[in-house]
Amino acid sequence: MITVDDLRVRFGETEAVKGVSFAVPEGSSFGIVGESGSGKSTVLRALSGLNDDWTGRMTVKGQVLAPNRGKDFFRRVQMVFQDPYGSLHPRQTVDRALSEPLLVHGIGDADARIARALAEVALPPAARFRYPHQLSGGQRQRVAIARGLMAEPEVLLLDEPTSALDVSVQAEVLNLLADLQQRRGLTYVMVSHNLAVVAHLCPMIGVMQGGEMVEILSGEDLRAGRTTHPHTTELRALSTELEEA
């Protein structure tokens, strides 16, 4: 479904992503973990089309991606951001945020679709005409997910979708993402600093450090401690150390 081959991104003098390659099969999830500055979000932004200054080769469903994407690309690939407080327009109601993708792509039947989308992410119909500041963090993230799904994409890019949320809300959002994937056959690429969160949702995980993907391993291997790169081992140790306390 998605292939990324030797992706490189430069910011001025520094190379933020130094030749990253991975592939995601259709309907599956790929997780990217790494610390701040490892380049994990940069990979996602290049894939999403937000950053058009990259080299390498990326394909979605066999189609090679150009730096500038057409409208149909954005119908197939959508993104959910880390901070639900910043990713919703502060002056637009939920209804407006959800109708925007429909207007852009000329999809009709807005009223029923919005109602359905709200139900799908388990938001009450009463939330429809609220402004973001009248919603909780978890509700906002649900709105952001619903917005991503409005144009019925096949790929959802998740940039730390739960790290700004409380743990109880994180669990709800992770469950929701799992349900949506099952129901719609979505393909996910998820970026997070939290190994446990990524491993929960993604069968394959890429570990990034200093702009390179130092290891790609399966969730089982990670759980069982079959890691090869010292950075992965270190991240795993930090994550399990607290679990056993």
Binding site: F81, D95, F129
Partner: protein
């Protein structure tokens, strides 16, 4: 009980339509604004000034152009509440009619300038690159001229009058708005919610018009109200220098200009239009301050 139900309808946490949500938001802003007495005073005075100017034909006691040389420079009296000027015209009536000219000029300038500045600033800020450089250098050129001098030169080049004064002031007043809108846009452009809109595949024009510009509007409105007083003053200065409204049309600045000879002996003749300018400027400033607190809390 209909007022409480209307209030509930506006303040509900679960509005049932876009319109209700929008009115609810506006009502909340109004509640914030109302809590600021100085801003309310500014608003009331502004509304009064506009109402009085609009109602001038009914409120005036005399024809503002009617001369009576036998009764020139009269003190305030029952017949002429604020006295008469050097041609025996009733100052009270002239101030009322003058409000139409002066405030009308202000409104005309704002209507011309605010959309232009907003458009230039948003496009420059959002599109960036060459468009940004070109638009901003043009803005800089206009900013580099002293406002009044540029306006003077412009008016002098065409013919003095209200229309050319409006055009001249508009020409010199837009650059700060473009600057402001650009700065706001640069900040908004990098936000996640704009990234999210970009990812819907929306065209640039749509993003600017529907998502960026509305966010700049708040600070722009604030800036406009704060600028209204300086527009009044520029209009008055042009009038004072004989480049604005032409006699006999009553304009506050021109009224002061023609009456400046009498400032020592018949103080009320130039003072009364001066007070009008002062009150209008102060009211706009108070209103602008109040609006800033409500619309643009981060700039407090």
């Amino acid at each position: 009980m209909s007022t409480t139900t209307l209030r509930d309808w506006l303040l509900t946490d679960t509005p049932s339509s876009r319109a209700q949500a929008a009115w609810g938001r506006r009502y909340r802003l109004w509640c914030d604004f109302r809590a600021n007495p100085l801003a309310m005073a500014g608003l009331i005075v502004t509304v009064l000034l506009i109402a009085v100017s609009l109602l001038a034909p009914w409120l005036a006691t005399h024809d503002p152009g009617a001369q009576n040389l036998a009764n020139r420079l009269a003190r305030p009296s029952a017949a002429h509440w604020l006295g008469t000027d050097e041609l025996g015209r009733d100052i009270y009536s002239r101030v009322l009619y003058g409000g139409r000219v002066t405030l009308g000029m202000v409104v005309a300038v704002v209507v011309l300038v605010a959309p232009l500045g907003l458009a230039v600033g948003c496009i420059a800020g959002y599109v960036g690159g060459v468009a940004d450089r070109v638009l901003m250098r043009v803005t800089d050129v206009f900013l580099a001229f002293p406002r009044l001098i540029l306006a003077l030169a412009f008016v002098a080049a065409i013919k003095p009058g209200v229309t050319s004064a409006i055009a001249a002031i508009a020409l010199t007043a837009w650059p700060p708005y473009a600057r402001l809108a650009r700065a706001e846009t640069m900040m908004i452009r990098s936000s996640d919610y704009i990234a999210a809109v970009r990812l819907t595949g929306a065209a640039k024009a749509r993003i600017i018009l529907r998502h960026v510009a509305p966010m700049c509007l708040g600070s722009l409105i604030v800036r406009v109200t704060l600028d209204m007083s300086s527009i009044i003053l520029t209009a008055a200065s042009l009038g004072f220098l004989g480049m604005g409204a032409q006699p006999p049309s009553p304009e506050w600045g021109a009224m002061i200009a023609t009456a400046r000879r009498f400032i020592l002996d018949q103080w009320w003749v130039p003072t009364i239009p001066g007070i009008a300018i002062f009150v209008a400027s102060l009211a706009f400033n108070l209103l602008g301050d109040g609006l800033r607190d409500v619309l643009d809390p981060k700039q407090r």
